[in-house]
Amino acid sequence: MTRIFLHPLPIRIWHWVNALAFIILILTGAQIKLGNAIHFFSFQTAVKIHSWLGWLLVFNYFIWVIYYFSTGNIKIYIPPLHRPVEFAKKALRQAKFYGWGIMVGDENPHHSTFENKFNPMQQVSYLMIMVALIPLQLITGMLLWDPKLFEPVVNLAGGLQIIDLIHVFLWIFFSAFIIVHFYLATLGHTPMAHITAMFTGYEELHDDHGHGHGESHEHGHEEHSESHAQDKSHSH
């Protein structure tokens, strides 16, 4: 069994703070919006938790920004759009894997490494989420948090109702996304493989698994990754 280092400490912290805050924000958001159908919290409590966690997410987002931009690792989020055909083929192959290959025991066409963590589908969706959707959710949340303080921006957007519309649409999207995201996280070589990796930073590789990461030795990923992992583990 070999291990591959995928998730550095700042990103693991960022991820789990993000995950917890998101779940609670989704629930308190539901309480605020559907107050006559849901009774998890009182309105006041829901709003207070929502506000605290909203600001926590804003600061947490900067952990992600500072880490990825200062290390230059932000490149793992950038799809190779200069080779669109190759990228599209890879994305299609990945989609085919999740739709069919995974069922019949095909090998996962993507092998995660520290420098190439995301498969093409992850790359596109996480890029959208991290540079567009989360910032948009945070900004609209801030505008709703104190619409008078940010009045010029609210007016520029056409009014608070429009801001709320965006915030609610994204709430709907993230609510569905987080369910799918959690399921996909169980699709490692064992259901807990990806999840454990998000705690420890290391993903364990097994030669005999059907669809997990780094099944093949052909590309020499393992050795490269291992050496990198060791380097990285020293640094942590």
Binding site: K33, L34, V104, D146, G159, L160, Q161, D164, F169, F182
Partner: protein, 561 residues
């Protein structure tokens, strides 16, 4: 024909020569005056009148001789005196009655037509005032000379201290009497009459004509703006001037609140902001008096707010058409925004702006009149000017008659604006190039309830009353359109307008957490959740179904391996 012409000329000449004839006749008797003066040169000669007044009968002979009537015989004016039986005992009630009766004799020479031609003001005065009041009695001179040394205001008061009146075109009589004492104690005591009545002076007294007393009052109020420019500017923005312009003559002008000649300084007259309002709005008085504010004032706290403290003195706006009333509250409650953050805030910091965001959409009374019935008022507002669009503007834009405007807005004529009708108003105006939005605010429904401000402890602090779907305080919704007379046109709306997808764009500036949440989005949320759960369940199901295939491949039976 020739005969007729001759007759006309004869009559005209005779008419013109008549006063000269009379004058000559009297002049001829001037010598007789000496006879009268034999007695009346006595300075002690007096007569006791029935009201106990003493009337001097002394005549200064030389002064009389120098007057314009110097050559007129005494009996020319005192036609009732006959030397055969003079002096006789005459019963005279008072000096004023005597002055009036003697003045009637002036018209023997000074005909009404002649007086009116020379100085038209005589027409109004002759009926009431004795001639001698202005011109003197025996030493007759033109008024301007007679009163040459008299101070301007005293000159005017010569007549206006009397209870004289002016006849309006509709037959009403307008008193033009000035109470000297109240004027002298007014804030304007040091002003000259002509400072306000600029068309009038010692030499000018134009005759004006007004339809009614009210028309005169309204015109007279325009004079105030000469000095009180700021107040006049503010008044021009008020619902009162809009009402006046709209034809409601009962709407107040300056003098209706401040009075005319007895104007008191608002600094001294602490109740002007209540008393003057109550002349029309007395129905508000009981609720005001029952409020914290009214009670404090009744107790003698002069700083307690009066009507004008919140509604302003001059730029009074319709309470439903303005958000400025809260400015009145904030004049005293300066720290209100900060104080509200004790409980009204979003963590992690307490910002006054968060309170102000609420103040912008909720009237103070909506929370602080705890028993009032509230409503959500959605005012049709221009996005360009940020001001309400009036019914006049709407009829012009739509090219319709004013009486069909309601039908145009409430197209199904059910007396309520639905979400689709709201969208139609927005869309039709958009087609005409007019960008509008329905700005919303919460207010109490009845004006009387708006004044019943209770103690701080009784104010609404429960967020759930507003911030929840179908919230208690969001049951009554109204569309508001400004009428050109400054008042609001209020049309009930279905409460669904607050949560309809049709309202997102027309009502994009009015958002209340929880209670204006679009219903459709809730449905999309449920669908998305079901979709999100369905993906893993479906995928797992397929993986379970296909698990034998994977098992086979792992055992090397049919797999790539």
């Amino acid at each position: 024909m020739c005969k007729k012409k001759f007759l006309s000329i004869f009559l005209l000449v005779s008419f013109m020569l008549y006063p000269m004839y009379i004058y000559a006749a009297k002049a001829g008797s001037a010598e007789n005056n000496k006879l009268c003066l034999q007695c009346h040169l006595d300075k002690t000669m007096t007569k006791k009148l029935l009201n106990k007044e003493i009337l001097s009968l002394y005549i200064n002979g030389s002064e009389f001789a120098a007057s314009v009537h110097g050559k007129v015989s005494c009996s020319g004016c005192h036609i009732d005196i006959n030397m055969d039986n003079h002096p006789q005992s005459k019963r005279i009630q008072s000096r004023s009655e005597y002055a009036l009766s003697v003045s009637r004799n002036c018209s023997i020479c000074h005909t009404e037509a002649q007086l009116n031609q020379r100085q038209p003001i005589h027409k109004a005065l002759a009926a009431k005032g004795p001639c001698i009041e202005c011109h003197g009695s025996h030493y007759i001179r033109p008024t301007a000379i007679n009163k040459a040394g008299v101070q301007e205001n005293a000159y005017c008061l010569t007549c206006h201290r009397n209870k004289i009146s002016m006849r309006m075109q509709n037959g009403e009589a307008l008193s033009v009497y000035v109470d000297e004492n109240s004027f002298a104690s007014s804030v304007h005591a040091k002003l000259l009459c002509k400072d306000c009545h600029s068309e009038f002076s010692k030499t000018q007294h134009p005759v004006r004509s007004f339809n009614s007393r009210r028309a005169y009052t309204i015109t007279a109020s325009e004079l105030c703006g000469k000095c009180h420019k700021e107040a006049a500017k503010l008044y021009e923005m008020s619902v009162h001037i809009d009402q006046l312009k709209g034809g409601n003559e009962k709407a107040p002008s300056c003098v209706d609140c401040h009075g005319d000649h007895s104007i008191a300084s608002p600094k001294k007259d602490k109740n002007i902001g209540i008393v003057s309002c109550n002349k029309c709005h007395s129905d508000m008085s009981p609720s005001y008096e029952a409020s914290m504010h009214g009670k404090a004032r009744i107790k003698g706290n002069e700083k307690a707010p009066a009507c004008s403290s919140c509604h302003n003195a001059h730029n009074v706006e319709s309470a439903k058409m303005t958000t400025k009333i809260k400015d009145g509250c904030l004049k005293c409650h300066k720290d209100a925004a900060k104080l509200h953050t004790k409980w009204l805030y979003n963590p992690p910091v307490k910002l006054s702006t968060f309170s102000i965001a609420h103040f912008d959409a909720v009237s103070c009374a909506a929370c602080h009149s705890p028993n009032a019935e509230r409503g959500i008022y959605l005012t049709l507002t221009s996005r360009k000017t940020n001001k309400p669009i009036s019914d006049d503007e709407l009829t012009k834009i739509f090219g319709i008659e004013p009486d069909v405007l309601i039908k145009k807005l409430d197209s199904d004529s059910d007396g309520m604006i639905s979400q689709k009708e709201m969208w139609n108003i927005f869309a039709q105006l958009f087609k005409h190039g007019v960008r509008v939005t329905f700005t919303g605010n919460m207010d109490v429904q009845k004006a009387t309830e708006a004044h019943m401000i209770a103690s701080k402890a009784e104010g609404v602090k429960d967020c759930d009353k507003c911030h929840k779907p179908d919230a208690e305080l969001f049951q009554n919704v109204f569309i508001v359109i400004k009428k050109s007379d400054g008042k609001p046109l209020i049309i009930p709306a279905k409460k669904e307008v607050l949560i309809s997808v049709y309202s997102i764009i027309p009502m994009s500036k009015f958002y209340v957490l929880g209670s204006t949440s679009v219903k459709l989005l809730d449905i999309i949320f449920i669908v998305a959740l079901i979709g999100g759960i369905a993906v893993p369940i479906g995928h797992i199901s397929f993986r379970i179904i296909t698990s034998p295939i994977r098992a086979l491949r792992r055992m090397g039976k049919g797999g790539k391996k």
